[in-house]
Symmetry: C2
Amino acid sequence: MTDIRTDAASAAEALPATDAVAHDVAEIAPEDPTPGALDAAALQDLLLGSWAEAHRTARGLVKDERLHRDPALGMDEHRARVLDQLGILVEEKAVHRAFPADLGGQDDHGGSVAAFANLVLADPSLQIKAGVQWGLFSSAILHLGTREHHEKWLPGAMDLSVPGAFAMTEIGHGSDVASLATTATYDEATQEFVIHTPFKAAWKDYLGNAALHGRAATVFAQLITKGVNHGVHCFYVPIRDESGAFLPGVGGEDDGLKGGLNGIDNGRLHFDHVRVPRTHLLNRYGDVAEDGTYSSDIASPGRRFFTMIGTLVQGRVSLSLAASIASFMGLHGALAYAEQRRQFGGPEGSETLLLDYQNHQRRLIDRLARTYADLFAANELLEKFDHVFSGAGDTDKDREELETLAAAIKPLTTWNALDTLQEAREATGGMGFMAGRNRLPHLRADLDIFVTFEGDNNILLQLVGKRLLTDYSAEFGKLNVGAVSRWAASEASDALHRVGLHKAAQSVHDRGDERRAANWFKDPQVQRDLLTDRVRTRVADIASTLGSARGKSKAEQAAAFNSRQHELIEVARHHGELLQWEAFTRQVESLPAGQTRTVLTWLRDLFALRLIEDDLGWLVAHGRVASARARVLRGYVNRLAERLRPFALELVEAYGLEPEHLRMEIATDAEAVRQQEAADWFAARRAAGEEPVHEKTLHAGKR
Amino acid sequence: MTDIRTDAASAAEALPATDAVAHDVAEIAPEDPTPGALDAAALQDLLLGSWAEAHRTARGLVKDERLHRDPALGMDEHRARVLDQLGILVEEKAVHRAFPADLGGQDDHGGSVAAFANLVLADPSLQIKAGVQWGLFSSAILHLGTREHHEKWLPGAMDLSVPGAFAMTEIGHGSDVASLATTATYDEATQEFVIHTPFKAAWKDYLGNAALHGRAATVFAQLITKGVNHGVHCFYVPIRDESGAFLPGVGGEDDGLKGGLNGIDNGRLHFDHVRVPRTHLLNRYGDVAEDGTYSSDIASPGRRFFTMIGTLVQGRVSLSLAASIASFMGLHGALAYAEQRRQFGGPEGSETLLLDYQNHQRRLIDRLARTYADLFAANELLEKFDHVFSGAGDTDKDREELETLAAAIKPLTTWNALDTLQEAREATGGMGFMAGRNRLPHLRADLDIFVTFEGDNNILLQLVGKRLLTDYSAEFGKLNVGAVSRWAASEASDALHRVGLHKAAQSVHDRGDERRAANWFKDPQVQRDLLTDRVRTRVADIASTLGSARGKSKAEQAAAFNSRQHELIEVARHHGELLQWEAFTRQVESLPAGQTRTVLTWLRDLFALRLIEDDLGWLVAHGRVASARARVLRGYVNRLAERLRPFALELVEAYGLEPEHLRMEIATDAEAVRQQEAADWFAARRAAGEEPVHEKTLHAGKR
């Protein structure tokens, strides 16, 4: 990291020079891009990323209609169908990529997550139930267990002969896993662990496979031996017998109907002094000897906990990718419809295509740009995940970076998917609400829980924010606290204020020159500076608040942190957006000069400028964007969307989703066919002289 | 309307004087408000508005569990249950307030809509199906028909012996009602109208009661007689016989499963030369004589069309109110939960209440302020509606104002409800996703379609925007176009730019004085000026774009309009927000000085400052808010939310929703009970000396 102050200053000082540097690829393209002439194959390669083959194989598989959601099924039938579908995935050998080669897998972690994410095209319930079985339950055995566990339990987990629940979350504790109340107390006399949920808040909840299908569970509990609590560990616990009845001491409840994902049998589990052999502790990171002695290679209980929990990151990677795919589905439908549907007469009498309305362009094309950014960022997250889990780069630092990246990208992609699916629904009106004919409402309902499970989005972003603060302190570690806080204070007021005045003066020259301002905004260096600086400056400012509480009571320190919590979470989101911008820009720069690169550059610019527009108050008030420039930004964003409009359908189609994936009437030509039928009827009536005169015409004639 | 320029200038010039005037009621309150001491009865009176009795009666009725939604029912059973519930409403004499006294009604339009809106508490499907029967189908007979029609068809419509569909929307035309393609051609020979849907795009679609229960329909069709099309009129058309079979020539399809509201049997209807007697034309605004001569009291076909369509406004009023009620339901649940649920250890070891986190305050309390604004504005809309429909003030101008007000408030309240219900769901995590235990996901799904039916929100806002432009031209009608556009141009650049510089200079003095800036922001006159000015300035600016295209080709004029469409829709939303602020402020000012007024003033300030925060880029770039002030706004908003935090639950409870209305576990004390059970268990274990030592403590001990 370079000096924040220099960056901030350079963003400001860069102003007079921008006219000279403002030549991005769009300016030097040999010709204006022509609709229909984009290199769809090149775009698809970019969008599929490093595991294109895994994506394509999974896409081929999910065309199988046996795997498709039947929207008419009630909860019970839907659950039964999804369980059957899991069996089909096993038959089709579609779910074992991530497992060790000697157990029939391929040791392919990136490809495995890529393949799983595509199950969202068939049915999000299938994606998530498969995720429970092979991403959580089996992964816990794989990553937290050792050789003996793998040999004993992975075959049944892999071939679905033992459906399993991942019993971590409790009614009383979700985000705060360290505070789980279920206990696993070692009994030296019998060499068993006693699994116990002492009160209702300790019941495990929201667990897929718990209500009906689960035969075993990986149960997270406080490991207690010799009177010492060694923190949360994971245990393999059989829960049902062959007939499906709970084993002695095990009980549960069906969570029943949910807001979505009703193909999964989520439920609660409770344990009344259930005994399992000592060897049922998944002991990769911590073990208990026969005599009850605890041992672990990781001395710090905190670090041990985070190492164990770290294996959960896979779920976040998978959700990021699946959410991005769902956004593509929604936009594909809405854009195809907007290219056919007409409403209200245009100037020439014929009705106007929805996508020719500026407002419709801004609703859909803005989100198309963001969806590209989502997917590019999710792909980079997948790279990092594979790097760590394949062992290619599995250091503590790598794992921490992966955690932070996932914690930044999962919230953005999942929230964006909900927003995009909703906008696609609204942009297709009543048609989009018909769940039998179009999948938008059910997709949105199914993905709703993505924003709070596998890590609540707000909690994840706070984690990112804390990491940003840590990095900031590391950078300024050698300064004393006073110096840092003075630096931050001056940064946040005087220095910026002077910059602001300086820019206000600049803006007199810029006034009215929209072209010059547009050139400035589309300069990638300006975009990078603005998106970087707003993160660094705010982090420094928040750090100064925390710094000023240092040495005070714990309550005062907590209050200081809480006084900036909302902004810290926002800054974490901005950090994630910067990562998205960087991922997008890397992809743009990987293309050869030409039409495709030009159009993708516009799309990246639209993504960047929408971020800047959303944060314009801060950027102008802190002197980062001159008022005169801020005033022309909206017009430029409108023109960017208009420029992209002829390419919008091509850009969404480039991702390659086929009719069997979309399964939405809005994505077919049904609307165009209906319009043609109507046009033919009117033409025939006119030809036959049967068209009535409109009263309005008569009135006009009288005047 | 006063001079915009003066207003803009006064907002700017007011700066130096604010210290003197910045004493709102909060400053002169005799004491700081005490939690628990708000006047709940006074608040409830404000929130229930003019039809408190109708609200309370309806709330009493909907406690009846026979009217409640059973979330477990599939579509078919849900539809049957809701039809039965309509019968219960008839038995309970709950649905006839709006009808004429001589037909058993009470001529009470405001009270009727208030009562209907409360059905959302029982089941949104019930609310909307009742709305179809008595708000649309019956209302079409009442408002578009004449005496003979009332006597003949209203009794059956009112007592549900004739369930009816309101057959306006077609597959091909939803928002553009004037372009409907169904025809009603008069046949002089038989004195009948021939109702015909000539192609699939003309099929009526999305009609409640069409798939199963409807026996008749009010069908909107182009009235053609003697070779002239007199535009869209409404006809009473029987569609099914006593056995439920379609009558000859009538056909249809079931829309099947929808994203929500599955208790309603929406469907399609088509007509193949279906003949109805001449007297089935609902002829209040236009009639056809036996010989086929058309006549109407309203000479202009355009004005006649809008008069007929104007009766639809009732639906928008009802949705605005129901959406606001739903927002209260969501926030009631989420705030009750946030006052019990604890997560992550606080500085003293005990876990922290969710509502003590700043981020949680901002998520819920910001929306509580907006929900108050929503409801106050919906109440004022209801007043205006009653004023017009009771005949107290039924001029063209009144009707136009009502249309515009409804078109502004319905989009805000319905979008806000979706956002609020979603945030409530996320703020309650997995618990909020359990549709059987909590109603948030189903409520959100049911209300989803509110944002595009009874007028698509974007189309409605565009209508408001056009009205703002018309008002603007009326105001400047005496100036020539050049003068207006020069005025607007100077307004948008030079003048504002100078103001901006002036304020930048001011901000040097304000720098760092957060208290002074906060005083400025909480001055209601400042809030009003900012919220007014941003609308007027942007309208003038858009008008100048349109003005510069005047005299050019139709295509160029359309392009000019389209180039500002996105901003026009935004400015219409801002206009609606101003109306909300004014409604809120009127309610605040109606209270006597005291704690309740003080707290409500904070809530109004939070509402206003969130609007200003969301639009800060424009406000700073256009010199309306000085940069130094902009920089302290967020901190002040945070403090406002913190100040309101002890009152949040009281404020949401003041609306008076009871457990039978909420029917959500999160709104009960279940979470607190579980925590107490856990705390008791830990206390007992400690008392018995059985609490294990935590490994972390051992490590700490070693150091």
